[in-house]
């Protein structure tokens, strides 16, 4: 005796969120039943595993039928096949397009091609996310990419409107699309300490300041591509390192401003030229697609790591960069007013972004460092403890990160209660 056919169809489509999640996670019916059993869904019900299996099967089938519609969320709202209340529809879409940070970290910046898709089983075994779920997430990335590829206008808004995603998801997808489009290198070991949210923040900064849409408001908005002209202009910055006088002048200006404001002043002074060279070189090379891809790894190698080896903390870097940018501005107004004026805004923008990005990276560094040698880092952290990191702290930053940063500071404060007064 066997059940040949077993279906249940409700006028209002019945969906259990828990089962939906299991389905999204790529569980087979059998595994899902096991998970549900262990989760105690049968407690208090006079039902057997068979009943549970039948229920799970039904729902999995329903989700499968819905999947076609979920590929085009706008369709879900005006399709007739399933009667689903609007709030449920929103839930279905959001959950379907949700992704695992661990997974996205693996494919971020990779080309969303068939080749990458083939490698998903590696990703799956590495992250522990079931292959089916990996495929869904990957296909989602690809689908969103395809939808917004040709569209004009602000990227986040496009994603939100065409795929009916929540604000947060839309922003995340914008980052994914942006990274995939420029193929930013994110997989190197040195970048491993960064989470997806860190990159998403960077993407947000870049989208809002470096892209065509950002430069040329309204007209022909294209958020996906970097502004070529801007990148070209950045080449002009080279003068800051090639002109010896200018370099010296710049250095003295920055040093004057920083003196006695930081504990690592000596190191700053010593490495000024190196760091400046590193930064300007990165900026100058960005016309090259290959170098655009390496933007993040370069930043880490050329700027962040030296800073770190000198034991700077976030606040130091922040100070340094602020003054670096400001002094360069003064420098300019003195010497090349006529030629440079138009460029300065852009340069400023670029450097500010780099500042934001590096600060963001460094925050993470600090965390890593603090984990390694809490006491040593504590001393430095306290130096900045009185200054709120908020002004430079990215708003998109996940709360968990900022909390951990703050936690770290607190630890420092407690360890060195007297040094808290040293503010800048």
């Amino acid at each position: 005796m066997s059940v040949e056919l077993d279906v249940f169809v409700g006028n209002t489509t019945i969906m259990d969120q828990e089962v939906y999640q299991l389905w999204l996670s790529g569980y087979t019916v059998g595994d899902a039943v096991k998970v549900r059993m262990d989760g105690g869904v049968l407690d208090g019900c006079d039902a057997s595993a068979e009943v549970l299996r039948s229920d799970t099967m039904d729902q999995f089938r329903t989700f499968q039928m819905c999947e076609r519609l979920l590929h085009n969320p706008a369709k879900l709202a005006n399709q007739l096949l399933f009667q689903i209340p609007p709030d449920r529809q929103a839930m279905l879409i959001d959950r379907y397009y949700a992704f695992d940070d661990a997974f996205v970290r693996e494919v971020l910046g990779k080309k969303l091609s068939k080749g990458t898709k083939k490698d998903l089983d590696d990703v799956s075994s590495k992250t522990g996310i079931l292959l089916k779920s990996c495929r869904r997430q990957f296909d989602n990335f690809k689908r969103v990419f395809k939808v917004v590829e040709e569209l004009k206008g602000p990227l986040v808004e496009n994603i939100r409107q065409h795929l009916l995603l929540s604000d947060r998801l839309a922003r995340d997808y914008a980052a994914i699309v942006f990274f995939a489009n420029h193929r930013f290198e994110t997989g190197k070991k040195k970048l491993q300490y960064l989470t997806f949210q860190d990159f998403a923040f960077c993407a947000g900064e870049l989208i809002s300041h470096w892209t065509v849409g950002a430069m040329d408001n309204q007209l022909e908005d294209m958020d996906v591509d970097l502004d070529k002209e801007f990148l070209q202009d950045l080449k002009e910055l080279k003068v800051l390192i090639t002109d010896k006088d200018l370099l010296d002048q710049h250095k003295s200006l920055v040093c004057t401003a920083l003196r006695s404001k930081t504990k690592v002043f000596a190191e700053m002074e010593a490495s000024f030229k190196n760091l400046s060279r590193g930064l300007i070189n990165i900026a100058a090379k960005l016309t090259n697609t290959k170098d655009v891809r390496d933007l993040f790894i370069d930043l880490v190698e050329k700027f962040i790591e030296p800073c770190r080896s000198d034991r700077w903390v976030t606040i130091d870097v922040n100070l340094y960069l602020t003054h670096y940018i400001n002094s360069a501005h003064i420098l300019d107004t003195f010497k090349h007013q006529a030629v440079w004026n138009s460029l300065w805004d852009e340069l400023f923008k670029m450097l500010t972004d780099i500042q934001h990005v590096t600060v963001c990276f460094l925050v993470k560094m600090g965390m890593v460092a603090s984990g390694a040698s809490a006491a040593a880092e504590g001393t430095r952290a306290t130096a900045a403890s009185s200054e709120e990191p908020v002004p430079v702290h990215p708003t998109q930053f996940t709360t968990s990160i900022s909390f951990s940063f703050r936690d770290m500071l607190n630890v420092g404060c407690r360890a060195w209660p007297h040094s808290g007064s040293q503010a800048c």
């Binding site: 059940v3 279906v7 249940f8 006028n11 009943v51 369709k75 009667q83």
Partner: protein, 1040 residues
């Protein structure tokens, strides 16, 4: 040439990609009616074409209008090869033919293909201009309305119930025609769908003609069935009850009336205050007598309840409507009664060929006595229908069966059969025809022409009852239980005992019926679903031998089902069954019987005794122990069940839930149809001692089986109740959360040589597991009740058993205590007031939208309500005129201004801003909890075929059927929405024939569904809240 059909193709969306190269489609549409076809232009390269066609006009006879569906075919234009069909939409235009139903069909319809399922949607606009045809010899019956609902539709009242109508149409099944060998499956399926659509149109027209002949204007309880007889043809048959209905101008009664009605028969006494046209609805269920007319004003002093004469009510307002008499007797009805002829009596019924009624619930006072279930079955051998125009054989078969039913009813001392239904089961060339109903004695007054301006929804009957008190009548709460047959000359052995309510007359120890629980019945505790399930093996054979074999088995099967039912009923501690439906399905090597009913404890009937187990082999100690352990188990179960269903018999008087009438009025005279035997209490009460005489002997296998099935039935999980009737006694405070569902299971019996016993066990488990699954799925709705649990069994193949269930889960508020109950009644009574307030307020509020909606509206007491409403609604229309708000052509002679105006005003509320897809509720019940039905838009009767040649790719049989059922729901919803409705009531899935051939990767399924499309408005939750009439926003079914 009395009709002009106009159709306009507006747009399409979500079309499938037909051109692989461009990933687009060049779509155009063919619109066909009868033999005329129009085409739209090709809309190139789009999946969302905007045709915006002209109006295609078809000038046709109304006969064709009734028979033919409008056929819309979407195709993909192909320059070089034949155009590819994308799919079709069949639109039944019948709802447009009645002035009171829908006026326009407009909306998105799923484009359906029998091979691919739904492929996109198309927006269509359809109108009909109808010219009146007064030709007496016409063949059409436009305007006769059909209702699937098996009670008088809410918001209507029956002026006359004319009686039984039936018709039957036969044809050759296209699937079996020679041409089928050379055409594609798609063509064959479409031919079938079209033919069935045509046949059901024809059937409705013919029935309509009969109704007109009888002087009626509607068919209630319309039940249409298909018999797929295979080689020998296709039969479409229908039965129904012809009525003359009249719309209550005030809009519908709420269902509240229906389910609270249980409690007190006299609660609706306020009705007469308002008179016939009263815009209120009788939903209040207050305490009995004190609620009569006068108190009303005190509840709502600001309202004027003066009668407003309505121009629309053409009928019987002949009588001057004298004010409501005080106290118990309504003087109002006396007038018409005097005026109208009274010569007809019971003979009126007897003169009829078949005094049958397909209704299952009746106005109070209609049903005098109920005797029990009568059923008849016959086994027939099918042969080819030679002449489709003369379906005499089939007619004769049914005729025979009906005669038998009639004679059974006679034997029970009854002159009528209520809750009547017919069904068939076909296997190869053998066909079992079944008919069943409940023998009953009716109040003849309701059946006479013109006599009855009172028969309507539940409340009115009460009035009749009171005003007729001089006539034969019985106490309301228990009267229907009293035996109509002669005690000394009983047709079957039964134990009679005095009625526990009135102690005057005799009642049987148990009562089986096919009807719904009468609203005034006094019930103790709650009810529950009771099922008897049985399988019997049968030898495979052919032709006559097979038929003989089946007919030999049938009586035993029925007997055993009956015994099982009785046992289970006793086990539940109950004494009556309602909504009994016995299904017997025949397969090649087995017969399957499934009897479902709702058990209740009728206060009038004696308390059921226990069940005693007796072993036949005495002196065996272990055996005795076994017996006694079983006995103990059974006793425990009975006690547990009584607890579960709140049956506390010792304190009956208090426990008659919701029955504020302590004791029905005593009546000394008892109505007897045939015999005038003594109805005194003088005889010895022999029956009392027999209470516990129900003995099961467990020595023979049958008894073991019985026991087995008795004890394996799992009780419903806590928080759940189930019944197969419309309402569950003891539950009144429904929430608005409803969830209709269909579940289908097919079991394969792999074991080749099963015994009867094993087979039974399997079948039992199948049903039990199915129920368990339902409970589990719907656990989020707890506390909830599964109502109208409708099981259908079939034996589609040798070793397959198919069970399909359609039901609705309705959740209710938990506080079910007496107090809460009373509070709820008071509450609903308050609501009733609010309701009337709304009714009066409606036009005013719309008239001045800026004004405070809560302004006292007593200001228009003497305004002619109807014209007022009319004016307002047209005014509204100006405000909200939308493209699809189309009035009928001016040529149409409308019957009265009111319905027209009303329908327009409703129409203008059609488009819900915001969501593009409006929510359509579906329910197998005749009401929607917490809402009132304001308009019936027409019958939905749809037939679909789906076939696949890629079964595995579509997710196997389950995936295939799941998708198909979802598609059927979607198409029903789309049609209802296009008619302007927001719900389907009395929905049922009549047929679900599933065939598969996994080896060939093929499957086919046929589904037939029906129901009534309605517009409902939600009662606002807060008292004094705005009436939602202007925006019937459908609330969602609860998400699980």
């Amino acid at each position: 040439m009395p009709g002009k059909l106009k159709a306009k193709i507006v747009a399409g969306r979500h079309l499938p990609v037909m051109d692989r190269a461009s990933d687009l489609t060049d779509a155009f549409v063919e619109v066909k009616f009868g033999n005329t076809t129009f085409k739209t232009d090709v809309f190139p390269k789009s999946l969302n074409p905007q045709w915006n066609s002209e109006w295609f006009k078809f000038e046709v006879d109304d006969e064709d209008l009734q028979d033919e569906p409008l056929q819309i075919t979407v195709l993909d234009h192909d320059t070089y090869s034949a155009n590819d069909a994308i799919g079709k939409v069949y639109i039944d235009i019948d709802p447009l033919l009645s002035s009171e139903a829908a006026t326009v069909i407009s909306g998105w319809f799923p484009i359906y293909d029998t091979i691919h399922g739904i492929r996109g949607e198309i927006n269509v606009l359809v109108k009909v201009d109808l010219f009146n045809d007064l030709n007496r010899f016409r063949q059409s019956s436009c305007g006769v309305r059909f209702f699937c609902t098996t009670s008088i539709p809410l918001c209507y009242r029956a002026v006359v119930v004319h009686g039984f109508v039936e018709e039957l149409v036969v044809n050759e099944d296209p699937e079996y025609q020679w041409i089928d060998r050379i055409r594609t499956p798609r063509a064959s399926n479409e031919a079938r769908q079209r033919l069935i659509s045509l046949m059901s149109g024809e059937l409705q027209r013919k029935i309509g003609l009969k109704v007109l002949e009888m002087g009626g204007n509607a068919v209630v309880g319309y039940l249409q069935c298909f018999d797929l007889e295979g080689e020998s043809g296709l039969v479409v048959r229908a039965i129904g009850t012809a009525c003359t209905l009249e719309k209550l101008s005030g809009g519908g009664a709420t269902n509240n009336a229906q389910h609270t009605a249980n409690s007190s028969p006299s609660k609706d006494m306020k009705e007469p205050v308002f008179g016939d046209e009263c815009p209120s609805n009788p939903l209040s269920s207050g305490p009995s007598t004190p609620l009569r007319a006068p108190p009303f004003t005190s509840f709502s002093p600001s309202k004027s309840y003066s009668r407003q004469s309505s121009s629309s009510d053409t009928d019987i307002s002949l009588t001057p409507k004298t004010g409501m008499g005080s106290g118990g007797s309504a003087g109002k009805e006396a007038g018409p009664l005097k005026i109208l002829l009274r010569q007809q009596t019971q003979t009126a019924l007897e003169q009829r060929e078949f005094p049958f009624f397909t209704l299952t619930s009746f106005p109070q006072g209609f049903l005098l006595h109920v005797a029990g279930v009568v059923s008849a079955r016959s086994v027939k051998l099918l042969d080819r229908i030679h002449n489709p125009d003369e379906p005499e054989t089939r007619d004769a078969w049914w005729e025979e069966l009906r005669q038998e039913i009639k004679s059974h009813a006679r034997a029970l001392g009854c002159h009528a059969v209520v809750g009547y239904s017919e069904s068939t089961s076909i296997c190869e060339e053998v066909c079992i025809l079944s008919a069943s109903g409940t023998a009953a004695v009716l109040n003849c007054r309701f059946l006479q022409d013109g006599c009855l301006d009172v028969l309507s929804e539940h409340s009115r009957g009460v009035v009749v009852f009171f005003c007729n008190r001089c006539d034969d009548s019985a106490p309301p709460g228990c009267g229907f239980c009293h035996v109509p047959y002669d005690e000394l000359n009983m047709p079957f052995p039964a134990q009679l005992s005095p009625c526990c309510c009135c102690h005057r007359t005799k009642v049987p120890d148990v009562l089986f019926t096919t009807i719904d629980l009468p609203t005034d019945a006094q019930v103790t505790g709650k009810g529950c679903l009771i099922q008897a399930r049985l399988c019997r093996l049968k030898k495979k054979s052919q032709g006559e031998g097979n038929a003989t074999c089946i007919s030999n088995l049938l009586p035993f099967l029925e007997y055993e089902l009956h015994t099982q039912l009785l046992n289970k009923l006793k086990l539940c501690g109950m004494n009556a069954l309602f909504g009994l439906c016995i299904q017997i399905s025949v397969g090649e090597n087995m017969l399957v019987g499934l009897a479902s009913a709702t058990g209740v404890y009728l206060s009038a009937l004696p308390s059921p005794g226990g069940i005693q187990i007796a072993g036949k082999t005495p002196n065996d100690l272990t055996y005795d122990q076994h017996v006694s352990s079983i006995q103990r188990k059974i006793n425990d179960t009975i006690v547990k069940n009584r607890e579960l269903y709140e049956i506390h018999i010792t304190e009956v008087a208090e426990d008659v839930i919701g029955s504020p009438i302590p004791e029905p009025r005593q009546r000394s005279r008892l109505f007897r149809s045939h015999s005038e035997s003594s109805d005194e209490l003088s005889e010895l009460d022999l029956s009392h001692g027999k209470k516990d005489a129900f003995v099961l002997e467990i020595d023979d296998t049958d008894a073991v089986e019985d026991l087995h099935s008795l004890l394996t039935d799992a009780p419903t999980p806590p928080g759940f109740y189930s019944c197969n009737t419309e309402i569950m006694p003891g539950i009144y405070n429904w929430t608005s959360a409803i969830q209709m569902f269909t579940s289908v299971r097919v079991f394969r019996l792999n074991n080749a040589n099963l015994t009867n016993l094993g087979l039974n066990k399997i079948f039992n488990e199948l049903c039990e597991n199915l129920l368990k699954s339902l409970y589990f799925k719907l656990r989020s709705m707890v506390p909830c009740c599964l109502c109208r649990l409708n099981f259908t069994v079939a034996v589609p193949e040798d070793e397959l058993i198919q069970v399909a269930v359609t039901a609705v889960a309705m959740s209710f508020h938990k506080d079910q205590t007496q107090e809460a109950n009373k509070a709820a009644q008071a509450h609903s009574q308050m609501k009733a007031i609010a309701e009337t307030e709304e009714q009066l307020q409606f036009p005013l509020e719309l008239n001045a939208e800026s004004a405070s909606p809560l302004s006292p509206k007593g200001s228009a007491p003497s305004v002619d309500y109807s014209s007022f409403a009319d004016r307002c609604s047209s005014w509204i229309e100006q405000l909200r005129l939308r493209a699809h708000t189309i009035r009928r052509g001016s040529i149409k002679t409308s019957s009265s201004p009111l319905p027209e105006g009303r329908s327009r005003s409703l129409r203008s509320t059609r488009s819900f801003p915001g969501s593009s897809v409006s929510v359509v509720k579906m329910t197998p019940l005749s009401f929607i909890p917490g809402a009132k039905i304001v308009k019936y838009l027409g019958i939905i009767n749809m037939f679909f075929i789906r076939e696949t040649t890629s079964l595995r790719e579509e997710g196997g049989v389950s995936g295939f059927l799941h998708a198909f059922i979802a598609e059927v729901f979607a198409m029903v919803r789309a049609h209802v929405a296009a008619l302007g409705g927001n719900a389907v009531v009395s929905y049922s899935m009549k047929e679900c024939v599933f065939m598969e051939n996994p080896n060939k990767n093929q499957a086919q399924c046929l589904i037939n569904v029906s129901g009534d499309a309605v517009i409902f408005t939600r009662e606002s939750d807060q008292e004094g809240h705005l009436p939602q009439t202007s925006h019937p926003q459908p609330t969602e079914d609860t998400p699980p």
